[in-house]
């Protein structure tokens, strides 16, 4: 059974670096790729009624943008290299969602590009990479 790795992309330079890492170091004949784009979202926010009413169309356009702008080009690059790719776009808190996706798709490893936020920002708001490393039960490769 072919094993698979999860590659997290988000349109940021970090995501691109992770993609490059996978292209350069992973063997496409033995490893399938689950290409995941997590759109940052929390179910516990406070919104105005108007925001709620518009939420569905917003969600659709966010997914479309993610698919067309980031996921489709990345998928193409991977497939050209011979990888078999499953693409998924999902909303949620980034670290938690990536881990859930990793379990869902039964991947053996996760590749994730660091966004490189400044020290203070990471300290105050936390970094996705930090949360991932601390809460994941699957090997994570953080591409700096």
């Amino acid at each position: 059974m072919k094993k698979s790795n999860l590659l997290a992309v988000d349109g940021s330079p970090g995501g691109k670096k992770a993609l490059q890492y996978v292209l350069d170091t992973i063997d496409s004949s033995t490893v399938g790729i689950v290409l995941a784009y997590v759109i940052e979202w929390s179910p516990y926010t406070f919104n105005t009624p108007e925001e709620n009413a518009e939420r569905h169309q917003r969600r659709e356009s966010e997914i479309t943008r993610a698919k067309a702008g980031v996921v489709a080009p990345a998928k193409k690059q991977l497939e050209e290299k011979g990888f078999s790719v499953q693409a998924v776009v999902r909303h949620g808190p980034p670290a938690e969602t990536l881990i859930n996706l990793a379990h869902e798709y039964k991947v053996s490893e996760v590749a994730f590009g660091r966004r490189g936020q400044s020290g203070i920002k990471s300290l105050l708001f936390g970094s996705v990479a930090g949360s991932l490393i601390q809460t994941s039960d699957i090997p994570i490769t953080v591409v700096p």
Binding site: P43, F46, E54, Q57, R90
Partner: protein, 541 residues
């Protein structure tokens, strides 16, 4: 014409097919051209009223008095009609309050005490236990609840309770809590229907609420003409009512508290404070300056927790008076000598203020909940159970106990003050600085309630006049004008008018709920069966 319901997998959701002319709204037997023609004069009339009010008399103090003199007789006339009273056991029972109480009691029994038995499930839903990961990114149950609660938690929780206790005595508190408890069932029914009978607009946004379920519900029962009429009646009622309960009452009481805190420095400057508030509301709902709304929406829950925390502190500090205060509540609930109308009077006031506060029976929450995209409309019903609980059983009761214990510990502390001023004085006995954060809380609560109600009123307006952008802006401008107006009127007539419209729309709403309750019951039973059988998946915990 394609159905806009491609997301449903079950036939539990009734969705409206887009009307043949997407820019017009459905209305009782009135042609499109007449609707368009009516829209402008109605808007003009409302704006003229507000404008006239704001430009009268140069001397500031006189503006406030003049408005007051103008509105008082209108308020009293409207009040007499809506609150038509029948004498009963020494008290005058307004028929409309009886209508509400009967409805709440009926729905509690008919839905098999869902307010008790559904409570735990509501918590599970809000926590996200049944949230399908694939539908992440849509409005969550928590968000629907938070939005609706921020709309209902307003000045009524701080000031309305004080009014209840002043007029109805301590016993009104008991009936307030009872009304909150029974109102949970009414909310359950109306929010389920709000989701079930909503309209999906061509641009993807959602419009739902009692005007939609009333029209569709009666139509499904073969009473199409009546359905159209009652839907339109409700729509008119809510876009006018929004100007009272969700607008003028809020800005007025916020101004009162600001004035109190500044030691009367803002006397006669109601028009200025109102104008400032109107500009801020305008910038959010018309200007689309989301940042203000976002900040408010985030601060409001903190302020609510802060308020409750300090209220509990005050109660604890008055712990010696607590048994007496609670005793007063119970004796007042059943005997209430000294209160006009006795125990029945306390009950009437308790119910009135509770409905005003938690909006059960008014149907406004169903507008908020209709935005949730779910296959199971009844889940929103469960979630909405928590609103009267949070709003009335928790927050209003806490406020009532603060006032009650302060009454016992410091008799006569309030003097002439009522409303928010009285609550403020109660806190002042223990925390002399409290009026300042209370004023901030009052302004924020008022603001978030105004934002929510501008949306509810807007939905009534667009139901009648169409969803075009210009139409929407017209109502929003009218709404802002009334924000300013609210600060120029005295509480008395203002409360009368607000009350009158709000209770007026309870009448068609609850009538519709009686007719449509069997549908809700079927949904509930089918849903519960599927939960039992495991067909509905629990994703977490």
């Amino acid at each position: 014409m394609q159905s806009t319901c491609h997301f449903t997998r079950r036939a539990h959701q009734e969705c409206e097919r887009p009307s043949s002319s997407p820019s017009s709204g459905p209305v009782a037997g009135v042609s499109n051209r007449l609707q368009r023609a009516l829209k402008i004069p109605v808007a003009a009339l409302l704006l003229a009223t507000a404008w006239l009010a704001t430009t009268m008399a140069p001397a500031h103090a006189n503006i406030d008095t003049t408005i007051n003199n103008l509105t008082a007789p209108v308020a009293s006339w409207v009040g007499k009609v809506v609150f038509f009273k029948i004498p009963l056991g020494g008290a005058d029972l307004p028929l409309v309050v009886l209508w509400l109480i009967a409805g709440a009691v009926f729905f509690t029994f008919y839905m098999q005490f869902v307010n008790l038995r559904g409570f735990k499930h509501a918590i599970h839903l809000v926590r996200g236990d049944y949230a399908d990961p694939n539908s992440a990114g849509e409005v969550s149950h928590f968000q629907a609840l938070a939005t609706a609660v921020s709309g209902t938690v307003g000045i009524g929780n701080i000031g309305g309770v004080a009014v209840a206790v002043t007029v109805g005595g301590a016993g009104a508190t008991f009936w307030l809590i009872m009304a909150g408890f029974l109102g949970m069932s009414t909310k359950f029914v109306e929010c389920t229907l709000g989701v079930k009978y909503r309209n999906e607009n061509p641009d993807g946004s959602v419009s739902g609420g009692p005007m939609y379920y009333l029209r569709r519900g009666f139509s499904d029962r073969g009473m199409e003409g009546f359905g159209k009429f009652i839907g339109a009646f409700y729509a008119i009622g809510i876009f006018i009512g929004a100007l009272g309960i969700g607008n003028m009452f809020q800005s007025n009481q916020a101004y009162v508290q600001l004035n109190h805190v500044s030691g009367g420095a803002l006397d006669g400057l109601g028009w200025l404070v109102g104008l400032i508030m109107a500009v801020v509301v305008f910038s959010v709902i018309v200007g689309g300056i989301k940042s203000i709304a976002k900040v408010t929406e985030k601060i409001v829950p903190f302020m609510a927790v802060f308020y409750c925390l300090f209220a509990v502190l005050v109660i604890l500090m008055n712990y010696a008076s607590l048994p007496a205060a609670i005793g007063n509540i119970f004796t007042g609930a059943f005997t209430a000598d000294g209160v006009a109308g006795g125990a029945l009077g306390a009950m009437i006031i308790g119910f009135q203020r509770a409905v005003f506060s938690n909006e059960a029976g008014i149907g406004s929450a169903s507008i908020a909940h209709s935005a949730v995209r779910t296959d199971e409309p009844v889940t929103e019903g469960y979630v909405s159970l928590l609103e009267p609980f949070i709003d009335t059983i928790v927050i209003c009761t806490i406020t009532a106990l603060v006032i009650g214990t302060t009454h016992v510990a410091y008799p006569g502390f309030a003097g002439d003050a009522t409303g928010v001023a009285m609550t403020s004085l109660a806190f002042e006995q223990k925390f002399s600085w409290f009026p300042i954060p209370l004023a901030l809380a009052a302004v924020l609560f008022a603001f978030s309630t105004m934002i929510a109600w501008s949306y509810y009123g807007l939905k009534g307006w667009t139901y009648l006049f169409g969803e075009e952008a210009k139409t929407q802006t017209t109502y929003k401008v009218i709404f802002c004008a009334f924000v300013a107006l609210g600060c120029m009127v005295q509480l008395g007539p203002l409360l009368d008018i607000s009350d009158a419209f709000v209770f007026l729309i309870c009448v068609p709403n609850i009538l519709g709920l009686y007719f449509l309750a069997p549908i809700v019951k079927r949904e509930m039973e089918s849903y519960l069966a599927r939960i039992e059988s495991g067909e509905i998946k629990r994703f977490k915990n």
